[in-house]
Symmetry: D2
Subunit: 348 residues, 4 copies
């Protein structure tokens, strides 16, 4: 229970899909109050409800052009950055000076190793101390680090769908790491953001499927780090595909289990790891996770099919890319950083 004033929240990058989802949740949050919403520096002021007609009737807040001083004057307790990578990289240090917890939904502070930034993100990382200090917020694995964190690097959507089910099995030594881990991921189009492009044009996406950025996707080093496979590109292959749906990611991960490992061992490790994780659901029957079960929710659903005779395992992780893959995980992280219940404001 929280006594007294609500924490004050600001969302920068309020015009994007993740920003919209964050706003929707914050407008209904028991302990946090949305006090400001900001777009890019060059944006015109407009009512949030005209930027996102979905929010009609829910708020009269305006969406303002990004302005550091205006944010400071709002005295925020938490600032969510749903902004581009370089923007987050540049602005995070100043925003932290406000004393607010900063939860960055971009990739600017996710990779421990700064050398990946020029390669995968196209810019040199110039805030290396902050990079070291940032908490990589895959909530379920870092709750202790999150309490009191100042800068949270909110994980990527693909990595979330892969690391949650696979990391515990890696850590428990169930996986034969001499073979490559193959991650075949499929994502809905909202993962590509709100800016129109030929690759998100309805007529190009619908009734189709395509692989993209094979071996080159930004999330590759993030997945590698999460699975302890950094600098082992022979041991990890990640292929993202664009699905003709709005929301949701399903990752199909292929690993070989060590000799003698049973399906029950996999389920056992998951049950122990996620015993106190209300937003991870283990599918332990014949039913496998499907995107439909998680779309619109904050859950990560996980399941596995295992050929015990060969050790071949197919691990499935499913999330809503805008929620557990972005906005709701950001809120889980903010809740913990601010001392609230992890699920506060997150409808199950």
């Amino acid at each position: 229970m929280v006594i007294g004033r609500k924490a004050r929240a600001v969302v920068a990058g309020a015009t994007g899909y993740s920003g919209r989802e964050l706003i929707r949740m914050l407008l209904d949050h028991p302990y946090i109050e949305l006090v400001g919403a900001f777009a890019s520096k060059s944006a015109d002021e407009a009512p949030l409800a005209s930027v996102h007609p979905h929010l009609t009737g829910l708020t009269t807040l305006p969406c303002l052009p990004y302005d550091e001083d205006a944010i400071r004057r709002l005295e925020p307790g938490v600032i969510f950055l749903g902004t581009p990578n370089e923007f987050s990289h540049d602005e995070a240090p100043t925003l932290l000076e406000t004393g607010a917890v900063v939860v960055d939904l971009s990739g600017a502070y996710r990779l421990r190793n700064p050398e990946y930034y020029p390669v995968y993100y196209g810019f040199e990382h110039r805030n290396r101390e902050l990079l070291d200090a940032a908490v990589y917020g895959m909530t379920e694995f870092v709750r202790d680090d999150l309490r009191g964190a100042k800068l949270v690097a909110n994980p990527g959507c693909y990595p979330t769908s892969i690391i949650i089910p696979v990391k515990p099995l890696m850590d428990a030594g169930l996986i034969d790491v001499s073979l490559p881990v193959i991650c075949d991921s499929k994502s809905g189009v909202t993962g590509a953001g709100k800016a129109p492009s030929s690759t998100t044009h309805f007529s190009e996406v619908s009734e189709s499927l395509r692989a993209y950025n094979v071996f080159k996707h930004r999330h590759t080093p993030e997945i590698a780090a999460g699975l302890g496979l950094e600098n082992r590109s022979d041991r990890l292959t990640f292929t993202p595909h664009l699905l003709p749906i709005n929301r949701g990611i399903l990752s199909t991960v292929y690993v070989r289990l060590n000799a003698g490992v049973k399906r029950s061992d996999v389920l056992g490790v998951w049950r122990e790891t996620f015993a106190t994780s209300p937003l991870v659901r283990i599918f332990d029957s014949e039913q496998l996770p499907e995107i439909k079960f998680v779309a619109g929710t904050a859950y990560c659903d996980i399941g596995a099919v295992i050929d015990e005779s060969t050790g071949q395992a197919v691990i499935i992780g499913a999330i809503d890319n805008l929620l557990k893959g972005a906005a709701s995980q950001a809120l889980q992280n903010a809740n913990l950083a601010l001392g609230f219940d992890e699920c506060a404001g997150i409808r199950r």
Copy 2:
């Protein structure tokens, strides 16, 4: 049967969806040979198969920047313009000087009354003689005019789906014109073209439906002219909607029939009107036209449900907006203008 050389065809506006469909048909045409494909003036030269990967293996033709002289040197017998309205307006006169038949898929020469152009198209029409001379190519109604035509204004997609079923009933005096004709049309997204925009962004279109340009759509005066309802805005309402599909238009048209008119009268008029029209299919059983039946085909399917006790009639027209609503109707028209069989090169 055609003896000797094939007619030589040029497609300008080859990068768009209609252009692509035209090219696909022309590459397989028995009497017409595609000799040139052109994009906008500022485009870079590129193989057609890289502009439209669908065409991989089908042609080695390049797509060139638009160049009047280059077109002239190709000595075309027919030029298809899948270009923007003003571009067609400006270029048609010069292209006609080549002696080629020009089939313009834009709206530049569709409206007899030039006063509509500033209102609906945003530019002043400066080629009024040509506007008078152009044949409005709703093929099924103007075959005689098409033979020997020099400039064909290819009809709009929505008007095609509406005028084909309704005009014969109007002409036959079956419709009570004292009540408004209500045209509720639904179109797939390819109708909005290939240029990405927020209104054709996958995440905005999918799992949704919206009405747009109500009372203001460019096709309104074209439909009015086709139905003999010009300058009677109290007698015609046209509302287009954007469907979350690629291809196809279904128009639901509401009219009141004159007293005593039976369903059999409607079917009779259609049968007579379209007796020699291989690309109009009359649905005369309980089964109504559906977009699925026409998508990917050159047909216009028409059907009706009639409450004989009240005279209320629901008339359905369905087409593929890129084919009968654009490219295949253009080819029907070109075939007739060049003296070929109407369906040559058009797979049924």
Copy 3:
């Protein structure tokens, strides 16, 4: 504020889509507790979370075969019937004997005039007193009747999307009733229920659109009654279409306004009518309602485009067919019948 025990709720017809949505809301309701879920009489007992994997982790309740005695023993304060029409017709009288409020989501008690039942529903209505006593629960118009109601006939999805925007204009005398009201509605596939059929088979529905049950749909007399157009089939045409989306209805309604009526008059009537209706949103700018804005919400969004020179008006209503068109309206009604806040348990 509610003191003491929560109201006890039972959902019969728990395996359908409306049942699932009701259950989802009830599991999160501040004043109502879901105590029982029932399927058809011949169903096997199964965990709700295996019937609806979406509910994994949210409830351990079983879904039981329908059993009146079992329901009675649960001592429900409210019973929701998401059951077939005839089943609701037959069972409602007995269930009312338990003293519970019965909210019936079927059509069994919606039509005041029993003579429509054989024609539109295929069975003779044998509970005419109950039919007279039932409250037709279009919440926004009958809040007073709902307080203390015993049997609520929850409205159909199409009628909700049409009657909410149009009835106030009818009642205010803004509409020229000498012309027919044309209702062109488009619905997502969940409206057809969960039972597979060739008309809801993915490959038949996707990339298509079709009109169905023209002049014959069950909701026709319900719409007529809601608009005061009973027995005037010459004044009302209703055409439903099947959209290739999951959820949502958009109705485009064509009326002629009386001479001199302005857009501001329409907006004024709506504002007054819905001043205290938190779940009706009036779109009073250029932006029209779209299905995307209401999908997954309990709202009815309404808007209009009016040609003041002719009086032609295009009225748009949009809802989520499973929520405002079924489950959330049922919950609004139950809340009011039980004396709770109308929106309790309904996330905005």
Copy 4:
């Protein structure tokens, strides 16, 4: 060039999607004439155009209940079986007695090893000589065997998308067979046939993705045989997924290449293998195959991304499951068996 009478063709299983596509092509075939169409034994006679409204105006042939004698009397030169597995198993011997070439689109004669039938197809194979004699018709690899073949087992859709790109690399010794080959396939819903079921219900499929039949799919032994990996379940993993689209399969295959193998080696092998295969398209630029490029066509598009530093390779194969994965490959096979050009009647 063909002189004289066209070959006479019969389609059994004419009500399914593959049957429909076959019929569509046969109605436009230069050397083959469709003389009969048959449904199941218990079906009622109906016009083909009412079974498949898409065919309206294209044929007046009836669709008849299956009747061996009626087929015999039609004196077919080729019989296509788009029938269930056991039906094909049972009927093929008798139909072959007519002297016609039989092209079976089911799995009844695809697997050389009869022991797989009880495990994967649920029935004992009782026609083992015929199983030995049947030509497994992956056209591009068996043209010589097809000329004069009597029974052709038309390949499965998934195997076609995988074997065409991968088998040549296997045969050329480019792949490190000590590591497992991982086949992650995604298919449109028409692959599941025309019979409605909860797994093909629009509302369950759309906006979702799911893996199914992991390690158990019928096509697994067929893929293994095609790649020379029979009885090596540790070396092959095949996971099919259901995509929310109508038509098309994209398979993403993960292999490790032997040390020193370059992308140019892969392309070189493909170019040599498919030099005379008009329906295989090699994507040799940055552009990868996408479902959209093959949907509605008879092509198999193939491409690869290779990390030459590690040898990890991602091989992509894409087909239209109803065409190259069923009907058009059947027609390629029939054409060759009858001595016609492979592509006759197949629009490119």
